[in-house]
């Protein structure tokens, strides 16, 4: 009996989080229609509840399987097979993205206060986009991954241009759409080569199918890799595929910028970890033998990582606009994570774990920074660094939280960001990429220069007004959670690194899974 939608009901439980998000999004859409214009924040609170529910679902699923769940999971031997994958890697990535989406929604509810426009739409578009982001982590099949990516991208284009009266927001939306469409085409083209070579879209079955084709068709793997790197590089915003990021980050509404720099980026890395690594393992293995003729794929990843760290940090030095500066900062941050990606092939579970660790920490510190940027720039009506002048006197606690996030982004000891970089770079050394690790260490020192510019403004420059900055309860909680998280994981990193290593183990078991 062939499987049908009705026969495989039992499998749907693995997609419960996605179903909660989609269902919630549709209900939010209807509620939005019925509400009068001034009460749209109800949709925002409803969306918050939906994301909280999804977080609960993922957390419960994770908790129930801890210990015996490290192996790669097939969902239904006859049904979906690897179109849906529920392993610890997918679950922890989903959790990071859901928490990021939750924080962004809190920011968004505030951002719409006193504004006219597509408020309700912004909430449920975030729900739909987050569904796509989860699918990008929850699948090991090119088709499902691709549709998940589009489900994330399309609402993101609209979200970036949502402030219709703002010319820069319109520009951001259009630019993001055009560049994004190109990246999508590149990914699809690269995927078509992988399918042509292996005859399957199933990433788990792909390495063995590819290994047999490798001696004759090496060039096609290089072409496929090049196109996939181009497209995914855009999604992760790494140099040289980063051109869109500064304009889009600056023009988009600040909560959307936070969403792009956290949720979209983590989703991009989740997909890249599977798509850029798994099918190419035989290719990388061949590169280490004497007879190889093709491009050195690991070296290319490493070069992109260095370019991102260099380009992001160097360009950030020259920025005076806080959002633009953070666009470059997050390009550099993506470079650090790429160090982990480059060190991954043939490495221990710990390398994958260190990447997940860094992404989790990155989500916390970046959201914390963007909450502060949102409040300060909104109150000052000015997005330049000068808006932060004297924040240490006006709102000491907010200034403290921002300082912690900035130091962590730079990699200052006793913050979580330090341990994130420490793990990434030390595993790069283990993977015979010590030059990459040293480059990363040197270049992250540069980043302190521009992070300290904020700190200087806050503590050593006289404020334009003496008014204290009032922050609403929701954003205070988000900022406090981010700060406490950054400090907590900085003092006891093993609390997070333990699960992250288990995640790495679960990811590697995918490579050993029998198709």
């Amino acid at each position: 009996m062939p499987p049908t939608l009705i026969d495989i009901t039992g499998q749907w439980q693995y997609l419960l989080a996605e179903m909660v998000l989609v269902g919630g999004g549709i209900v939010a859409m209807i509620v939005d229609l019925l509400l009068p214009r001034r009460n749209k924040s109800v949709v925002g609170y409803f969306s918050l509840a939906i994301v909280l529910a999804a977080i609960t679902v993922v957390a419960v699923q994770m908790g129930r399987h801890v210990g015996g769940y490290l192996q790669f999971q097939y969902v239904g031997a006859t049904g979906w097979k690897n179109t849906v994958v529920v392993d610890l890697f997918a679950q922890l990535m989903s959790l990071i993205m859901l928490v990021g989406a939750l924080f962004v929604l809190v920011m968004d509810v505030y951002d719409w206060r006193g504004r006219q426009g597509y408020e309700g739409e912004s909430y449920y578009l975030i729900l739909f986009a987050t569904t796509g982001a989860l699918l990008m982590a929850n699948s090991a099949d090119l088709i499902t991954l691709f549709i998940g990516m589009e489900l994330l991208s399309l609402p993101s284009y609209v979200l970036a241009g949502l402030h219709r009266q703002n010319v820069k927001s319109n520009e951001a939306g259009l630019k993001y759409f055009l560049y994004g469409g190109l990246a999508t085409a590149a990914i699809l083209y690269g995927m078509s080569f992988l399918y042509g070579l292996s005859g399957t879209t199933d990433l788990v079955a792909m390495p063995s199918a590819i290994a047999s084709q490798l001696p004759n068709e090496r060039l096609f793997f290089d072409i496929a890799f090049a196109f996939l790197l181009l497209g995914l590089g855009f999604k992760m915003a790494v140099v040289p595929f980063h051109m869109w990021a500064p304009d889009v980050y600056e023009g988009a509404p600040t909560p959307v910028t936070a969403y792009l720099s956290v949720v979209s980026k983590v989703a991009g890395f989740a997909m890249a970890t599977r798509v850029l690594i798994v099918p190419f393992l035989p290719v990388v293995a061949e590169s280490t033998t004497a007879a190889h003729t093709g491009l050195p794929l690991v070296t290319i990843l490493a070069i992109v990582a260095v370019l991102s760290m260099l380009g992001g940090n160097a360009a950030a030095l020259r920025q005076r606009n806080a959002k633009r500066l953070f666009a470059y900062s997050s390009i550099a941050q993506a470079g650090y994570v790429l160090v982990g990606l480059a060190a991954m092939p043939g490495q221990s579970a710990a390398t994958a774990g260190s990447m997940v660790f860094y992404l989790a920490v990155y989500a916390l510190m970046n959201v914390g920074a963007f909450v502060t940027i949102e409040w300060v720039t909104r109150a000052a009506g000015d997005e330049s660094l000068a808006a932060f002048a004297g924040l240490g006197r006006r709102s000491p606690w907010m200034a403290f939280a921002f300082t912690v996030c900035l130091l962590s982004l730079g990699g200052f000891p006793i913050t979580a960001g330090f341990w994130g970089k420490f793990f990434l770079f030390s595993f790069a050394v283990n993977a015979q990429l010590s030059w990459l690790a040293y480059a990363g260490m040197v270049l992250s020192v540069i980043s302190f220069v521009y992070y300290f510019r904020f700190i200087r403004q806050m503590y050593f420059v006289r404020p334009a007004t003496a008014e204290t900055l009032q922050v609403d309860a929701g954003n205070t909680v988000v900022l406090a959670l981010c700060t406490v998280g950054v400090l907590f994981f900085g003092i006891v990193p093993n609390v997070l690194m333990g699960p992250a290593q288990a995640v790495g183990a679960s990811f590697l078991s995918m490579l050993n899974a029998v198709p």
Partner: protein
């Protein structure tokens, strides 16, 4: 290469692929929007013919019905209603043109080199594939069920997005 053309399907493939490419080039290089739309129709029809060669008659029919029949007609309707017959000014700097042209030529050369080098090693038409509607339906609603559902969500989100982007706000009017 002579072996390649001795099979009639391969010959047909080359002819149809050539025509499809010409039409696609017309879409990219043309000036008048109406011509672009008509070239797009030719490109869609060519892809439909390729599906026939790949022994997937249902996909060919769907391609004609949906792309040539519906989407192309939608585009033509849009053109008629908005009266967009103006040509886009092509004010691109020479430097950028050179960069783009170099990238395109290198990529094309690489791809052609790769395809030429592998000629004859890859089967042109897959054999032993079940292309019946039953098999297609079972694949779509069984194995690819999640992708199918996600695609429908994607369409819903795209619909909302299209409305947001195109609707005129009260205070904009």
């Amino acid at each position: 290469m002579i072996d390649f053309f001795s099979q009639p399907t391969n010959l047909w493939f080359v002819v149809i692929a050539f025509l499809t490419l010409i039409a696609s080039l017309g879409v990219v290089a043309g000036e008048k929007v109406m011509h672009l739309a008509l070239n797009l129709g030719g490109s869609f029809a060519g892809v439909a013919a390729l599906f026939v060669l790949l022994q997937s008659p249902f996909l060919a029919i769907a391609q004609v019905l949906i792309y040539v029949g519906a989407i192309l007609v939608m585009i033509l309707f849009g053109l008629m209603l908005t009266g967009a017959h103006a040509t886009e000014p092509t004010g691109v700097e020479t430097g950028k043109k050179v960069t783009v042209a170099t990238a395109v030529i290198v990529l094309t050369a690489l791809t052609i080199w790769g395809v030429y080098g592998s000629a004859g090693r890859w089967p042109v038409v897959p054999s032993g594939l079940d292309t019946s509607l039953t098999a297609l339906g079972q694949a779509l609603y069984g194995h690819w069920g999640v992708a199918f559902e996600a695609a429908s969500t994607l369409l819903l989100a795209a619909l909302v997005g299209a409305i947001v982007v195109s609707r005129r706000e009260d205070d904009e009017a």
